[in-house]
């Protein structure tokens, strides 16, 4: 078992000097990101979030960090401990696509090498086999289920080569 995920555990003692307008712009261009400035910090998102009591930076705080252009947000445990349950997005009175924005942050963090190991393993597995898990044949035989339909892994790899799935890492981290 691992400890709570993420290097950036608390605001305590943290100093934020450089506010990056570029970063805020980058986040705003994500799917769902355009509404960033509408957040009025009501914290309703955090009130229903299943991990609010398990992270040090809650989701409403994350939203404010985005607006302030604090790139440290990518190191908060909220990014990878977000279960993607969409409760916050469903309830936000300002209609902000919070979860979709967090997906974008996960993508950005992944590229910079800030990510749990399991995701790196899953990426390789998806590239190699096109699946996350393999069928359990004896169970299927017992229940008289047919084989799972087949596909050509070359098709999948052709796509992933085009999207550059295996080389997402930004140069300076590579």
């Amino acid at each position: 078992m691992e400890d709570t995920w993420g290097q950036f555990k608390s605001f305590e003692g943290a100093k934020f000097e450089a506010l990056s307008a570029d970063f805020t712009r980058e986040v705003s261009s994500l799917i769902g990101g355009q509404d960033l400035t509408a957040c009025f910090q009501c914290a309703k998102c955090s009130a229903g979030c299943p991990v609010s009591d398990k992270v040090n930076i809650q989701v409403h705080e994350l939203m404010r960090m985005l607006l302030f252009g604090l790139e440290e947000v990518l190191e908060t445990d909220m990014v990878w401990l977000c279960t993607t349950c969409y409760t916050c997005q469903e309830r936000c009175p300002q209609g902000i696509s919070i979860t979709d924005i967090i997906f974008g942050l996960k993508n950005m963090a992944f590229k910079r090498g800030i990510r749990p190991k399991g995701y790196v393993v899953a990426r390789q597995g998806l590239f190699d086999t096109g699946r996350l898990y393999e069928p359990t044949d004896w169970e299927r035989e017992d229940l008289e289920l047919d084989d799972v339909p087949e596909f050509d892994i070359n098709d999948i790899q052709k796509m992933f080569k085009k999207t550059g799935l295996l080389e997402l890492e930004e140069k300076e981290d590579a």
Binding site: M1, E2, D3, T4, W5, I31, P50, V51, K54, W80, L81, T83, T84, C85, Y86, T87, Q89, E90, S97, T99, F103, G104, K106, N107, F110, P116, G118, Y119, A122, R123, L126, G130, R131, L132, Y133, E134, P135, T136, E139, R140, D142, L143, E144, L145, D146, V148, P149, E150, F151, D152, D155, I156, K158, M159, F160, K162, T163, L165, L168
Partner: protein, 292 residues
């Protein structure tokens, strides 16, 4: 009228919940729903790939949709993860021209194109439409069964994408379950995520969430948990094995799939309902379920 769908199984069901597929097929047959093989289906990508790289996820998932579309078929899936992934992809590709063009550029090499004609449904949506027919087929009432039904996140949210049920007060699957004479209890944390997506990041946090869920089910005096998703079921029927509260009391509850409950109440052959593959013992409710 026979309804016809290509059935998208995903990876988790054939890997560890073949009883879900088998019970789904058994119920589908009894209700005259035709399930066609989904030739060429890969992983849906799920929130795992979406978290890594949006374009790769849209491509993988878009390819699956385009395959069914090329054969003129609609899609049904019994998995919330696959459902969320397919619906969400469909939504993004429909709404965002830039992404649609990018994905179609990639699909072109495979002689496929996403146009958005295939309808994507969860198996419980199809069942809900057939509730009158199901009501007529109930022969073995499950009186005394107190179900903590866990709808799961991606069946309900974001409601602008799934559009299935009230996202804050869902009742549709509960209504199906109550056709059997069982009670779908109201429990405080019913709508809360099961925590399963965190198994890849932190098993510790995933388990904390599960413990909270199970305590809530216990407080509501449920005698079983029912799901319609293999990812959620991994929490309730695998990770919950041996789970205890802070006082050391067991938090295990029998965990079943919606299709197993309906199949039993419809008096269908118990063999293909696959109950012997449920991992947490069904002993406390065997009598109510009418199984040996």
């Amino acid at each position: 009228m026979t309804e016809e769908y290509e059935v998208f199984l995903g990876c988790a069901i054939p890997n560890r919940f073949n009883n879900y597929e088998s019970s789904m097929r058994t119920v589908a047959e009894a209700l005259d729903i035709k399930l066609l093989d989904f030739d060429g289906a890969s992983c849906c990508g799920t929130v795992v790939l979406k978290s890594i790289d949006e374009t790769s996820w849209l491509s993988l998932s878009g390819r699956n949709i385009a395959l069914a579309e090329s054969r003129g078929h609609d899609i049904v899936t019994p998995c919330n993860g696959c459902y969320g992934s397919l619906k969400d992809t469909d939504h993004v590709l429909h709404e965002h021209e830039e992404q649609r063009n990018a994905v179609n550029e990639i699909l072109k090499e495979l002689n496929l194109e996403y146009k958005g004609a295939a309808r994507i449904r969860h198996f419980v949506e199809v069942l809900y439409d057939l509730r009158d027919k199901i009501r007529e087929k109930i022969v073995r009432p499950l009186t005394g069964l107190r179900i903590a039904f866990h709808p799961g996140c991606h069946l309900l949210r974001p409601s602008t994408v799934t559009g299935f049920d009230d996202p804050e007060l869902p009742r549709k699957v509960d209504e199906l379950l109550e056709l059997t004479g069982a009670t779908s209890v109201s429990w405080t944390l019913k709508l809360r995520c099961c925590g399963s997506p965190l198994l890849i990041t932190s098993e510790e946090v995933a388990t904390q969430i599960l413990r909270e869920k199970m305590e809530s089910a216990r407080d509501a005096q449920a005698n079983c948990v029912v799901t319609n998703c293999p990812a959620c079921h991994t929490q309730f029927d695998v990770q919950a094995i041996g789970l205890k509260d802070s006082a050391g009391e067991s938090l295990e509850l029998p965990a079943l799939f919606v299709t197993q409950i309906l199949g039993l109440a419809m008096g269908l052959d118990p063999e293909p309902l696959g109950l012997e593959l449920n991992r947490i013992s069904l002993d406390p409710i065997r009598e109510i379920l009418g199984i040996e």
